[in-house]
């Protein structure tokens, strides 16, 4: 009973710390949702109205017809006619175009009389994320057009692929990025909060006072994270709200299961922050360690934007050490695949193990009370 009273007192003290600094509190609750809204609305791999240039050496009916088709498609916007291929370099360096179509001389003549003509597509190789899609859209438009010009009844054999896009019929890119940014933001804000708040007590020398409180160290540390668990949960709720109502990511599975897993994930983040604070000797180092270990790694390795399967094997293993990798699987599973608890058992267990390891390890490391 006495323990509980002390515990309550400690939680109250932490709350007062948070509430006292309204600027930090606003940011604590506001930053995650703002980042999710910005990232979700700006992050897209969809190609729309990409600026292109055309070098038309043929200038005949067929080339004009095709150019017209390309420039009226939703993917491309014709901004420049160039006379020679050399001018493409200048445009690329100025950044005015993203791709160029080069039509051969006598394009139409060759097409009709020799049965074979050529169009060259040139894209900017320094844009690895978008150039391959530009090329493939260009090819699709040209091929479709040529196929439509050929007489249809031709003796041949056609294997027709019919495609079904599971979980995301319209290929909405946000289904991937919104859960991705959610896991990154929750992890970073959580870990930063606890790691800084404890190193601050270290810096000011109040940590020793805190550790001399006559209750179990596990409870002292737990009291330290309870307030942040609550604030993080509130901001997680706002993120899930935005995912559902602003970005229209469906919630196919159980919301309760998602919230439970979110609490688990927040605990992982906070415990990781605790652990970092045991290694850091100042708030600056705490922040440096947290940002180094978590910011770019979660963005690159945990499946936030890049599929993890395409990473080199070493990085795939490193990615498995990040809690966000597992939460990404869990949140996408529940949101998009309607996964039940059973199919996510493995991922959830890993998060539970991570919380335990981070938490116990950090409590043990806090043992020496006086240095």
């Amino acid at each position: 009973m006495k323990n509980f009273k002390i515990f309550k007192g400690l939680v109250r003290k932490e709350f007062l710390h948070i509430l006292r600094d309204w600027r930090s509190l606003t940011m604590l609750l506001g930053i995650p949702i703002v980042l999710v809204l910005l990232f979700g609305s700006v992050m897209t791999m969809e190609i729309k109205d990409a600026n292109i240039a055309v070098v038309d050496h043929a200038k005949d009916h067929d080339s004009k017809e095709l150019i017209n088709l390309i420039s009226t498609s939703e993917f491309f916007k014709l901004v420049k006619y160039l006379d020679t291929s050399d001018e493409i370099d200048e445009e690329f360096k100025k950044g005015t175009i993203r791709m160029a179509f080069v039509f051969d001389k006598d394009f139409g003549y060759k097409l009709h009389h020799e049965g074979h003509a050529q169009i060259q597509l040139i894209a900017d190789g320094s844009k690895i994320l978008t150039s391959p899609s530009l090329i493939s859209y260009g090819k699709i438009i040209i091929n479709k057009h040529i196929a439509s010009k050929n007489p249809p009844s031709r003796a041949g054999y056609y294997i027709i692929p019919t495609v079904r896009m599971m979980y995301n019929k319209n290929l909405n890119g946000r289904y991937m990025t919104v859960p991705g940014i959610m896991s990154t933001v929750i992890l970073l804000v959580g870990a930063l909060m606890t790691s800084l708040s404890i190193t601050k007590e270290k810096e000011l020398g109040t940590l020793e006072l805190l550790l001399s409180t006559p209750i179990n160290r596990f409870l002292i540390m737990f009291a330290k994270i309870v307030p942040y668990l609550i604030t993080s949960f509130i901001s997680a709720l706002s993120i899930i709200w935005a995912a559902k109502y602003v970005f229209e990511v469906p919630v196919s599975g159980s919301m309760g299961l998602l919230l439970l897993n979110t609490v688990l994930y927040i605990l992982t983040a906070l415990a990781l922050g605790l652990l970092i604070s045991t290694f850091a000797n100042s708030q600056l180092t705490a922040m440096m360690i947290t940002m180094t270990l978590l910011m770019l790694p979660t963005e690159v390795l945990s499946g936030m934007t890049f599929p993890t399967d395409s990473l080199p094997v070493v990085l795939q293993w490193l990615g498995k050490l990040l809690p966000s990798t597992w939460f990404n699987i869990i949140s996408k599973g529940i949101l998009l695949q309607g996964a039940k608890g059973g199919s996510l058992f493995f991922e959830t267990t890993i998060l539970v193990v991570m919380v335990m390891v981070f938490y116990f390890w950090s409590v043990i490391r806090f043992k020496p009370r006086l240095q």
């Binding site: 703002v34 980042l35 700006v42 049965g115 060259q120 894209a123 690895i128 599929p307």
Partner: protein
């Protein structure tokens, strides 16, 4: 000048007194550039499950062609679609290829037959690439079949267009050539802002700021003394990062290396100005931490790093016009990948300098208002 030198020496002593901090700073190029640079960001892998209810020569040919490609990894086969759907849900495979019974018979008799592709579309980009590549393979098999069975009936040849394509500046589309310099940029942005912002606030929080205020030193001296060490540290980090990128990843530097350092030096002053602004608007390190985290995340989101600016809506592009990381990454790629000279990047350099003065002016204004 002498005063600034003293502060610089003091700063370096303070940093080197903390070996952990030195270790974290020096580990940056190895973690962010060496390790994360190997993540290409390109999509090169899709796991496949096969449901072959036909077991014919044609279906096997398609499967073996898929096995032969680098992109597809055939993980296994299921007898029924239900079973395969379950595998997709539990193990997150990318594609199910389903050959219905009598697939080949129908192809011979009716000259066309359907194969079903079920893609896991949570990640829309991987899904569309998976579909494009498998269609390509099926198209190739189509041609083989046509030649094998009906070479004669194809006498009336269709006209075709060949579409050769090329990626300029990075012909083989080697993602490391782009990703590694981008990682150098991300590292410099993160470390410059982190070190400068938190560092100044620390003096406020501990109260040593007041001691410095009573010394006969100007505020500009103080600020210069604070930011020049950070500038030097980041030039060193960038040098290590670039050495790693050429030794390990063989990233070719087409333009001038001096220009790379010159433009980096200019951009760093803008980043330092952002750090100063953060330190002016925060009273505690915790507040500075929030601002720093928020700003670094915003810079990354609008920085052409994982989110292509080209695809953004116009307001996103406008945000990117205020973003140091976007300028930095564009200029680095212009010089390193495309070999641009000072003339090409001059407009960007001028804008960066303009932003630097604007940021400093705003910080100064807020600073004076507070006193």
């Amino acid at each position: 000048m002498r005063i600034i030198r003293f502060i610089i020496v003091k700063e370096f002593i303070q940093i080197f007194r903390n070996p952990l901090l030195v270790l974290i700073i020096l580990s940056q190029p190895f973690i962010q550039v060496l390790l994360l640079g190997t993540a290409g960001g390109d999509i090169n892998y899709a796991s496949v499950y096969v449901v072959d209810e036909d077991l014919s020569a044609t279906s096997r040919e398609i499967i073996s062609k898929m096995e032969g490609s680098d992109f597809f990894d055939i993980r296994g086969a299921a007898l029924t679609m239900d079973e395969a759907y379950k595998v997709m849900e539990y193990k997150n495979i990318n594609l199910i290829v389903h050959f219905p019974p009598n697939f080949e018979k129908k192809l011979i008799k009716e000259h066309s037959s359907k194969v079903q592709l079920v893609t896991n579309a949570i990640d829309a980009i991987t899904a569309s690439l998976t579909y494009a590549y498998s269609s390509e393979i099926i198209g190739a098999v189509n041609k083989d079949v046509a030649i094998k069975w009906a070479a004669k009936s194809l006498s009336n040849k269709a006209s075709t267009v060949s579409i050769p394509y090329s990626y300029w500046y990075n012909r083989a589309l080697i993602s490391q050539y782009i990703m590694v310099p981008a990682m150098c940029v991300a590292m410099v942005v993160m470390i410059t802002i982190l070190l400068s912002g938190m560092n100044i606030v620390k003096e406020k929080e501990i109260g040593t700021m007041e001691q410095l205020n009573v010394t006969p030193m100007r505020k500009t001296h103080f600020i210069m003394g604070k930011i020049i060490p950070v500038w030097i540290i980041n030039i060193v980090l960038l040098a290590i990062g670039l050495i790693l990128s050429s030794l390990v990843f063989h990233v070719p530097v087409v333009g001038s290396l001096w220009l790379v350092f010159f433009l980096s030096g200019v951009v760093m002053f803008l980043l330092l100005a952002v750090g100063v602004l953060i330190s002016v608007i925060s009273n505690t390190q915790q507040q500075a931490m929030f601002f720093t985290f928020f700003i670094i995340m915003i810079f990354v989101i609008f920085g052409d790093f994982i989110t292509p600016i080209d695809n953004m809506p116009s307001w996103g592009k406008a945000m990117a016009d205020l973003n140091p990381q976007a300028y930095y990454s564009r200029m680095i790629h212009l010089v390193i990948t495309k070999g641009s000279g000072i003339k090409d990047i001059l407009p960007d350099l001028l804008k960066v300098s303009g932003l630097t003065f604007a940021t400093l002016a705003v910080s100064l204004w807020i600073f004076n208002k507070k006193d």
